[in-house]
């Protein structure tokens, strides 16, 4: 049978041929990148609006709540970026307070990454990292992953900036999602393979590795949504 190749049929065929769904893995990758960009811009915007410099660690960490709210995507599996962004979030101060101090540094490609603290529960491994550039440029961690003692790769969700947590250095809280059905076991290896500058537009490859061990804690509770709109909290 001769196929009908009228104009409209060709158009229908083209429409069908180009209607490719986004594979789940690809969608997750894109979601993470965009969430991270939004978090970065939110933090930057908050700084511009408030012109803030946090005088005390407590204030800085509370300020971090707004940015850390973007981590909701790593807490609530599923849903759209939109729904995740407006949901609750783990409080940065809770993560900080219950995290274990690691205090390790690694330098490569002109950037020093400092692993400040880390924590783990059954769903996440949390790392708090800061980046300093030899050039003085503001930088953030780019690609990273955590590997547990059994070789399980724990990929990050969104990293959210928290203001200048440590000696004027911008730090970020990153929540890495433990695969379903897995209980993470330490010691853990944090591998960072790039840093970004210029709001994530420029990516510089490198290799920064940290080994740390932290006890498994109870899950971190999401904070109230209202916390996301309290940048002037004491």
């Amino acid at each position: 049978m001769t196929p009908d190749t009228s104009g409209s049929d060709v158009e229908t065929l083209l429409g069908r041929s180009f209607s490719l769904p986004i594979p789940v893995r690809s969608r997750d990758d894109i979601d993470r990148r965009v969430e991270s960009a939004i978090a970065s811009h939110t933090e930057r915007r908050a700084r511009q609006v408030r012109g803030f410099r946090f005088p005390t660690p407590a204030r800085r960490l509370l300020l971090g709540v707004a940015a850390a709210a973007l981590l909701t995507g790593t807490v609530a599996a599923g849903g759209t970026i939109f729904s995740r962004l407006i949901g609750g979030a783990p409080l940065m101060e809770n993560v900080w307070d219950r995290a274990t101090e690691i205090d390790q540094s690694s330098t490569d490609a002109g950037y020093t990454i400092h692993l400040e603290r880390a924590a783990a529960d059954r769903e996440h491994v949390w790392v708090i990292v800061s980046v300093t550039a030899a050039s003085g440029t503001e930088a953030s961690t780019g690609r990273m992953r955590v590997i547990d003692a059994n070789g399980v790769v724990i990929r990050p969700g969104t990293c959210a900036g928290t203001g200048d947590v440590f000696q004027g250095v911008s730090a970020a809280l990153c929540g890495c999602n433990v695969p379903a059905g897995i209980t993470p076991h330490g010691p853990y290896t944090l591998e960072v393979t790039s840093v970004t500058t210029d709001a994530g537009e420029i990516e510089t490859p490198g290799h920064w590795t940290f080994t740390f061990d932290v006890p498994l804690t109870a899950p971190f509770n999401p904070g109230p949504a209202s916390a996301t709109v309290r940048p002037d909290a004491p």
Binding site: G7, V10, L13, F18, S19, L20, S26, I30, V34, F82
Partner: protein, 193 residues
């Protein structure tokens, strides 16, 4: 060749004002960018796949597109050709830049046609895959500008008026370009039958 053939225009984006509102809001509150992303991510991904990017490449370039769009949201002008065309122009530039760095790729037919359409029987899927393979093989033989216009239309969902500023042509020239492309495809399909 039926150069006067009328091409069915997709409906103009009914929600363009909403896009403009969200884009304006995103200038001061980046979180307003999230719904914009949700609304347009599929068309951007499809466009990049239609241009020949593989799954990983399309995901990478789609992410890059939205990162750039957010970074330059101040440059978006509401009331112009629309947020979708603006976004696809960024995606197009990202694809062209990537092509320059890595060498241009042709359509990955095996990947494209290997995807089963949801809700279809294996037989229907096989027939559909063969049809897709055929037409995409003809699309791959078109000049780049025609492939681009077809991708913007059928993957990006843009009208001729919206495609024109993206590819830097007038609306009339864009309509002619699309008409010619479709006529060429139709002819090729008929000869191949």
């Amino acid at each position: 060749m039926e150069l006067t053939q009328r091409i069915a225009e997709p409906l103009a984006l009914a929600d363009a004002p909403l896009d403009d509102r969200l884009a304006a809001e995103a200038r001061t509150d980046p979180k307003a960018f999230a719904p914009l992303y949700e609304r347009h991510v599929e068309r951007v991904y499809r466009y990049l796949r239609a241009r020949g990017a593989n799954e990983d490449g399309a995901a990478e370039l789609a992410a890059l597109t939205f990162e750039r769009a957010l970074s330059h949201i101040d440059r978006y002008r509401p009331g112009g050709s629309g947020f979708g065309p603006w976004l696809l122009r960024i995606a197009r530039n990202a694809f062209v830049d990537a092509g320059r760095r890595r060498g241009n790729r042709s359509l990955d037919l095996d990947e494209v046609t290997g995807l089963a359409a949801p809700g279809r029987s294996p037989e229907e899927t096989a027939i559909g895959a063969e049809e897709r393979r055929r037409i995409l093989s003809f699309v791959a033989q078109l000049p780049d500008v025609q492939r681009d216009a077809l991708a913007l239309r059928f993957a990006g969902g843009l009208s001729s008026r919206e495609i024109a500023p993206v590819i830097g042509k007038s609306e009339a020239a864009t309509k002619k370009l699309l008409t010619r492309s479709l006529a060429t495809l139709k002819e090729a399909m008929r000869n191949d039958a």
